[in-house]
Symmetry: C2
Subunit: 233 residues, 2 copies
DNA sequence: CGTCAAATTGAAAGTCGTCAATTATCGTGG
DNA sequence: CCACGATAATTGACGACTTTCAATTTGACG
């Protein structure tokens, strides 16, 4: 199966909008290539829960967009511990790298469907004369800002602040927000730089404080989102 | 006073080398513009110790290269604490951003000299038809990798591991390496996500263990660099 | 030599991690 | 549909590491 990812070449949009539109466009968003647009063939792949999408230090062959399910990108330490750099769900791009080897590994948090877009580095893309570079740059800078925000969280926040930030990050805009967690407590812990026990205890404490409700382990209702947000300035 | 930053337009080099050469080129590296190269005017600025170069959320007018001295880029929390994202010394670029506001603030760790290059975003640079985009992308990805490495450090390392990583990062290639610290213990603590006391205690312990020597507070001799590196896998 | 800021050191407290036990959840098969 | 086993999650007790608070020492500069 093959799909297309629209890569527009208009110059009048801002770089931000260009990238946002192009990198978020799904297969369904480009039923027919528009005049002047460049399309990139993508291959749809399915991964079972906990299967590896690519390994750290493996050769970069493609970058990826999540169609369904959730993906985690992470690093491993020699002692077996993990640092999860981020979770990626429908519409998110991941695995786009400058060098020829992946700096992180990627794994399926849940069963998921992913589109792989062939990618041989920026120079190869630039040589095709398409307007991908600004979008790729935009993407890199977004990743950078998230990474810096994450470093701030890991360096300076308490366990309660980290868990609160995670819940707010995962929540939708509804009120009260219901968060469906695709990942285990271990995943959350490895994302927040905590242990599974601390995450569990913190969630329990939030529940006792009536800040959240836990109808099931994977469903969190943010009863008092303001209280959660207030924990981080 | 005005200087130039060479921005080469050759296509035959790898993206990596392009960026590395162009972004590291100093005033002295481009005595005369070469045929086919694009030059960017830079303004030399001096900043006194602890003065602000730009504030978080301030408008992006330029990006910067350090000529002399050391710069820190950091974020502030509402409680007054800081997370220093990185230190930048001679030759380093900082302050290059996608959006129109800075995501971090920049301050002079020591008295320092900096070249400011006018920068109005990638689209403005791209419109001038120079070949800056790949170099900027390369730069962004390098920052991203450093930020991810830093997140790993902050999320999963003990105080001793963090201080060891910092010393190795700051060390030159000589043996034994002598590190001249331009920053205070507080700066180091805010970079490593620790307190000033913990940094001090850890350095003292390293000294007792004969891993380092401290001829003065700002001079560290890595007596046993292997031992320091062994702490992190 | 005196003053002030930076750095070090000590003692106590607190947070989070570790280890262990219990409970809950989910998938599988009877 | 229920029972069972395996995995995930929770909870408790304890300990280690880091922070906090406080005092002292060191170093820079007039």
């Amino acid at each position: 199966m093959t799909t297309v990812l629209a890569m527009r070449s208009e110059r009048d949009s801002t770089a931000g909008h260009l990238a946002a539109e192009a990198l978020r466009a799904g297969p369904q968003a480009a039923p027919r290539p528009e005049t002047g647009s460049v399309t990139i063939a993508g291959q749809v792949l399915n991964f079972a829960q906990d299967s590896e999408i690519y390994a750290e230090c493996s050769e970069v062959r493609s970058f990826y967009k999540v169609v369904g399910g959730v993906v985690r990108t992470c690093k491993f330490l020699s002692d077996g511990r993990r640092q999860i750099e981020g979770f990626h769900s429908a519409g998110d791009i991941f695995g786009l790298e400058l060098g020829d080897t992946h700096g992180l590994s990627a794994e399926a948090v849940s069963d998921c469907t992913i589109v792989a877009y062939r990618w041989r580095g920026l120079s190869a893309a630039a040589a095709r004369n398409d307007q991908m570079a600004p979008q790729v740059f935009q993407f890199a800078m977004q990743c950078l800002q998230r990474a810096q925000q994450h470093a701030l969280l890991l360096g300076r926040r308490s366990a309660a602040q980290r868990v609160a930030a995670f819940l707010v990050e995962m929540a939708d805009d509804e009120e009260p927000a219901t968060v469906h967690l695709a990942m285990t407590r271990q995943d959350i812990a490895d994302y927040l730089g905590l242990t599974i026990e601390t995450v569990s205890r913190t969630l329990s404490q939030f529940e006792r404080d009536r800040v959240i409700a836990l109808p099931s382990t994977r469903h969190v209702v943010l009863e008092d989102r303001d209280a959660l947000m207030a924990l981080n300035d």
